[in-house]
């Protein structure tokens, strides 16, 4: 640690660090500019889209994607992927509904229990990837099936009485409450964004994450505990998916089956259009955050214009491809 501090104190070290992060931050900046552009264009097409309340609505909806994308960013940074997101999220919402049964006093232990469930599932993913050498795609896909089976079996296809109990008041407040006019869920997201950014950019752990993503073998040889970092990152992804599940349940009022499905591809898309390199090692969470806002703004705009389902899907895919073509291209091979 003291060596790091020495390097940073020395001017050259700072320059090196800055150079290293510049492209990632630049892509995040492009992302926010693109998001702002969509709001400006959207306001022409649909007056009021970029008004205070319009922006607030989009940001609230984007915050669920952004939370899941935070976990996805963690694992993509080491060249992994988390396909278990949909049913970890859905399972968390159902578990909270059943254990809290709409009561605030029960929520006091039900929420930590739900978060722990997400963390444990994520850690199991990580253990499979790191120690059993199961490809991340297969491990997390299998875990998604496990969580889907458990959730569906446990609720009997959502026939149980407590499955559809209303979100506890405290969860409702965590989404809809506001501090100085700012929705509470955005404050939670802001906190997550600050923590994730600090962890990735300014801690040894963060440096190790980028190190593994760039060259796993070199990281291992230079003493990084690759397996432990991997397990932890998948754990964090599970924890964040569960967090999103809890908040989404508060937003919708209750848990529903299939509520997590859109978040798989959206979380990956948010990360990559925000400049997180899919093979790992490069990217910044602020980019994923911008990506989540871009995607949500486009979907909201299409919804506001009553665009039919098929049109929304095509526009969505086309926008992802266009953004990637603008700045997601690889170096030309010689």
């Amino acid at each position: 640690m003291s060596a790091d501090v020495g390097k940073v104190a020395d001017g050259r070290g700072v320059a090196v660090l800055w150079d290293r992060f510049k492209p990632d931050r630049r892509k995040a900046l492009y992302g926010f500019i693109a998001a702002a552009l969509i709001f400006v264009i959207g306001d022409q097409v649909e007056p009021g889209f970029a008004s205070g309340s319009g922006v607030k609505t989009v940001l609230v909806v984007a915050s669920f994607v952004a939370l899941v994308a935070a976990g996805q960013t963690f694992v993509i940074l080491i060249g992994g992927i988390d396909l278990s997101v949909p049913w970890v999220l859905n399972g968390a919402a159902v578990l909270l509904a059943v254990t809290a049964a709409g009561s605030n006093s029960r929520a006091a232990w039900a929420i930590p229990l739900t978060l722990a469930m997400g963390l444990v599932i994520g850690l199991v993913n990580g253990l499979g990837v790191a120690f059993l050498a199961v490809p991340a795609v297969i491990m997390t896909l299998g875990m998604n099936g496990v969580m889907q089976g458990l959730t569906l079996g446990f609720t009997g296809g959502f026939t149980c009485g407590s499955c559809s109990s209303a979100a506890p008041g405290v969860v409702h407040t965590a989404v809809f409450g506001s501090v100085l006019g700012i929705p509470a869920v955005l404050i939670i997201l802001f906190g997550v964004a600050v923590v994730v950014t600090l962890v990735l950019s300014y801690t040894t752990f963060g440096r190790q994450v980028y190190g593994i993503g760039n060259n796993e073998r070199a990281s291992y040889l230079s003493g990084v505990n690759v397996k432990m970092v991997t397990v932890l990152l998948y754990g964090l992804s599970g924890l964040l998916a569960a967090t999103a599940g809890i908040l989404l349940m508060g937003y919708g009022g209750k848990a529903t089956l299939g509520m997590g499905d859109p978040y798989l591809f959206e979380s990956i898309a948010a990360a990559v259009i925000g400049g997180v390199y899919i093979l790992g090692g490069r990217g910044h969470y602020l980019g994923s955050l911008a990506g989540a806002i871009i995607l949500t703004a486009i979907i909201s705009l299409a919804l506001a214009k009553n665009m039919p389902d098929y049109g929304r899907s095509i526009v969505y895919g086309a926008v992802i491809l266009v953004i990637l073509l603008i700045y997601g291209r690889a170096e030309r091979e010689t």
């Binding site: 396909l83 297969i138 089976g149 569906l152 079996g153 591809f265 898309a269 098929y310 895919g317 992802i320």
Partner: protein, 333 residues
């Protein structure tokens, strides 16, 4: 520099040992299939009082058909080191078109069967062009094009419906005749021809080491375009087979095939890092997953809990494959 001679040393081993370690994942897939079939036979014999006959055999093959072709297409892409997330979208699209057009005169249906395969090929070419000339990662291109193909499917067939002529079903997936085996054999034959062409060599070369392939004169761009196009044709046909099997169309029925086609390929020993695997593996993987569904049915597993056992099976199978490959490589080193 000291690491390089060590690596070369390690790779030097007898051809037989090399072949065994190369095919170990496929052999494991076959082992899993044998195990699954044995469990299925045991459960079936125990509950029905006789062993499954030709009808059960052909229906299993019928059920496996769409996944077999989706996995064949997926494995081609995986062999180049890519991955295709748009498989489900392409199948949605061709499944929907099939439901609208696969009836009427034989000539009409044959024409549309060709068009449907071409739609698949065109979708694959679209992916390939973006990957080759857009210099984008396959997973990202197909993530975007998945939404586009899904949208097109919804445009073609807004809700489940349509009708596939019974002749189509009896030609492709007839439970009373072993037609499915003929279709699968044709698919394997096509793949075998491809494997032996210079294109096939290029696919494996790119999957193993793209730079080396380029340096050795493999026309990388052309091979990538051809691979995605051919893969798309296989997947497009899988959508038609799905329509034949279900005798109707559903613009979202193909979605599940994106991920299970990857799972089938991996269970059959196709390496996700590219360059290793075979069509036989993809077919074996597809059958393992299909027989697993039968096993769960005769095991009286609550249909709602099926994903749980499928997920566990996937993880355990992949872990066994990874461990066995690791042990074998260590022993043969």
């Amino acid at each position: 520099m000291t690491g390089i001679p060590a690596i070369q040393q390690r790779r030097r081993r007898s051809p037989a040992a090399h072949g065994l370690s190369q095919n170990a994942p496929l052999l494991l897939g076959v082992g899993l299939l044998v195990l699954m079939v044995a469990i299925y036979l045991g459960l079936y014999g125990n509950q029905i009082g006789r062993l499954p006959g030709n009808f059960e055999l052909t229906s299993t093959a019928d059920n496996a058909l769409p996944l077999v072709f989706a996995a064949l297409g997926q494995s081609l892409v995986i062999l180049t080191g890519g991955i295709d997330l748009s498989v489900g979208g392409v199948m949605d699209l061709t499944n929907s078109v099939s439901a609208l057009e696969m009836h009427g005169s034989t000539g009409h249906m044959l024409l549309w069967a060709v068009i449907i395969v071409l739609i698949g090929a065109g979708a694959g070419l679209f992916n390939g062009l973006l990957i080759a000339f857009g210099r984008l990662q396959p997973i990202l291109v197909t993530l975007g094009s998945l939404a586009i193909f899904q949208g097109l499917a919804l445009k073609v067939l807004p809700q489940p419906g349509g009708q596939v002529a019974s002749g189509v079903t009896s030609t492709l997936a007839n439970p009373r005749e072993p037609t499915a085996f003929v279709v699968i054999a044709v698919g394997l034959l096509l793949w075998w021809l491809l494997r032996r062409s210079s294109l096939g060599i290029g696919i494996y070369a790119i999957g193993n080491d793209r730079q080396a392939a380029r340096a050795n004169g493999v026309p990388v761009t052309r091979v990538v375009l051809a691979t995605y196009t051919i893969s798309g044709a296989f997947v497009g046909f899988a959508g038609l087979l799905l329509a034949a099997q279900t005798t109707g169309g559903d613009p979202t029925a193909g979605d599940v095939f994106t991920l299970i086609s990857i799972a089938a390929a991996v269970i059959g020993g196709v390496s996700l890092t590219g360059g290793r695997g075979s069509a036989a593996g993809a077919v074996v993987g597809a059958f393992v997953l299909t027989v697993l569904v039968n096993v769960l049915f005769f095991g009286h597993v609550d249909p709602l809990e099926e994903p749980l056992y499928e997920g566990l099976f996937l993880v355990v199978a992949a872990a066994l494959t990874a461990l066995a490959g690791l042990l074998l490589r260590r022993r043969l080193r």
